[in-house]
């Protein structure tokens, strides 16, 4: 009588330990975790879209060195054209998941802009239009890392944005607004749109490559040279992107559920700093696994040094 009871308890405990949350399942599908991935392949199959005012100079070079496809523009048309071109040119690294590091305009529209100057280059797109445009290119997952992103899924603005919403953050669309076409049916879309389960104001941290170990910097330089680009010097990384990369258990994603409530909550600075340290540690580990082990043993170095010296002396 007692033994079956213990077995049942053990089974329940084991089930809870090995249970996969919806977020983990979604991440496993959208961004498969490869244990043996090289530094230059971390972002394979993932495209990141940056609003220029949420980025730093040379930011895309950092992500390209990590294997991501990176787009930074204030014009959504240019970004969408970039996604299409990339998937045509690099079918072996085609973008399946698009991560949006853009503004949500308090949940009134996905915004990319150069600055807050009303006359600055700026454009908006609805979630439906984004699905409609990138689905033929092979994109299957869209992860929105923007402010109040679940408000973007409201049925009233899902297909077409309301330019007269009265929000002061909805600055003039100097480069236009992209809405879904009238005959587009969201129920037929195969794209999964994921947002943070809890709406709040997302934050991005700017870091320097100098904060990484010399091995990581060397690995980034090698990767950049392979791609024919200049090695990066700095980068901007959002808390949500770090959480996804680190498979943070506190990250909660939701799909297809909109909310109306506007949130002004911000995450504490300490949380972002902690995530940043973990991110740097993760990248350093990846590069050490790839390059650190290949160090020349000390004995061999000692043996080679005199020879090289003598060779130079002979010249």
């Amino acid at each position: 009588m007692r033994r079956p009871f213990l077995i049942l308890i053990a089974f329940i405990v084991a089930a809870r330990v090995y249970a996969i949350t919806p977020t983990q399942y979604l991440l496993a599908k959208a961004w498969p975790y490869e244990h043996q991935a090289k530094l230059a392949d971390v972002g394979r199959g993932v495209g990141i879209v940056f609003s220029p005012d949420l980025s730093v100079p040379g930011n895309c070079r950092f992500y390209q060195s990590l294997g991501f496809a990176c787009f930074e523009d204030a014009d959504w048309d240019a970004i969408l054209s970039g996604v299409r071109t990339y998937n045509i040119l690099y079918p072996e690294r085609a973008i399946r998941t698009l991560v949006l590091e853009t503004h949500g305009t308090n949940g009134n529209g996905l915004k990319v802009q150069n600055s807050y100057d009303p006359a600055a280059d700026r454009s908006y797109i609805s979630v439906g239009a984004l699905q409609e445009r990138v689905e033929p290119d092979g994109v299957r997952y869209i992860v929105i890392s923007a402010c109040n992103s679940r408000r973007l899924l409201r049925p009233s603005i899902y297909r077409a944005l309301d330019p007269y919403n009265g929000d002061k953050l909805f600055l003039p669309a100097t480069l236009g607004i992209i809405n879904a076409s009238d005959d587009w049916d969201p129920r037929r879309s195969r794209i999964v749109v994921a947002t943070p389960a809890v709406s709040h104001i997302e934050q991005t941290l700017a870091g320097s490559v100098r904060e990484l170990t010399p091995t990581t910097r060397r690995a980034l330089t090698v990767s950049a040279r392979t791609l024919g680009i200049e090695p990066p010097k700095q980068f901007a990384v959002s808390e949500m992107l770090m959480q996804m990369l680190l498979r943070d258990p506190t990250l909660e994603l939701a799909t297809g559920e909109s909310i109306d409530q506007l949130s002004r909550d911000q995450t504490p600075d300490a949380r972002g700093e902690k995530l940043f340290r973990s991110f740097v540690k993760y990248v350093n580990q990846l590069s050490w696994r790839e390059y650190g082990k290949k160090k020349v043993p000390a004995t061999k170095r000692a043996a080679k040094t005199p020879a090289s010296k003598s060779a130079s002396a002979r010249r």
């Binding site: 949420l54 590091e101 949500g104 308090n106 890392s145 934050q203 991005t204 700017a206 870091g207």
Partner: protein, 197 residues
């Protein structure tokens, strides 16, 4: 009989008084001349009897630099106020001011040709100089408004504050001396943060 006379005399006196007051009132209701002077404008009169109307805004809006002679009481005025109570005061009709026709008129004909006429005007010479009253004090008040600009600068740069407090107890004797140093590092933010809104 005597009382009757007194009564009649009183009545006559009352009637005379009434007529007298009425006559005086009619004489004082003289017509006033409306020379177009705006309320608040001042007309100074010197000892010569000339009136300085320089700077007054006449009906044409043009600057008038001369002075006029005040109308005499016995001279008929072109304007007279109605003696009736509540009567409307006559207003002097302004004469058309054709003295300035403008400059640079361009005539465009039907064939597109343009004919530009340029007329140059000179400042009219004031014939009669307005006598300037002595002791005229001109007060010029200049108000200068300095724009106030408030710049709010948010700097997310790295800040590290170190507060060092050094307490030195005065030496009481040659053997007693104590120095306490307390260092309190403030909480720091090491990375620039950008908010997605």
């Amino acid at each position: 009989m005597n009382s009757t006379r007194k009564t009649l005399l009183s009545l006559c006196a009352a009637l005379l008084l009434t007529f007298g007051v009425y006559a005086c009132k009619s004489t004082s209701d003289q017509s006033s001349v409306n020379n177009g002077t705006q309320a608040g404008s001042t007309v100074s009169q010197n000892t010569t009897g000339d009136v300085n109307t320089a700077g007054l805004n006449n009906s044409t809006g043009a600057y008038v630099g001369g002075s006029g002679v005040p109308a005499q009481a016995d001279q008929p005025t072109s304007l007279d106020a109605s003696s009736r109570v509540g009567g409307r005061e006559n207003v002097q009709a302004a004469t058309a001011d054709n003295s300035y026709a403008g400059t640079g008129q361009t005539l465009i004909t039907s064939n597109g040709a343009k004919t530009t006429t340029t007329t140059t005007y000179s400042t009219p010479t004031v014939v009669t100089t307005a006598p300037v009253a002595p002791n005229t004090t001109a007060t010029i008040t200049t108000t200068t408004t300095t724009p106030v600009t408030t710049a709010e600068v948010t700097s997310p740069t790295v800040t590290e504050t170190t507060t060092t407090t050094t307490e030195t107890t005065p030496m009481v004797s040659s053997t007693q001396e104590s120095t306490t140093t307390t260092t309190t590092p403030a909480e720091t933010t090491t990375h620039t943060r950008m908010h997605k809104d």
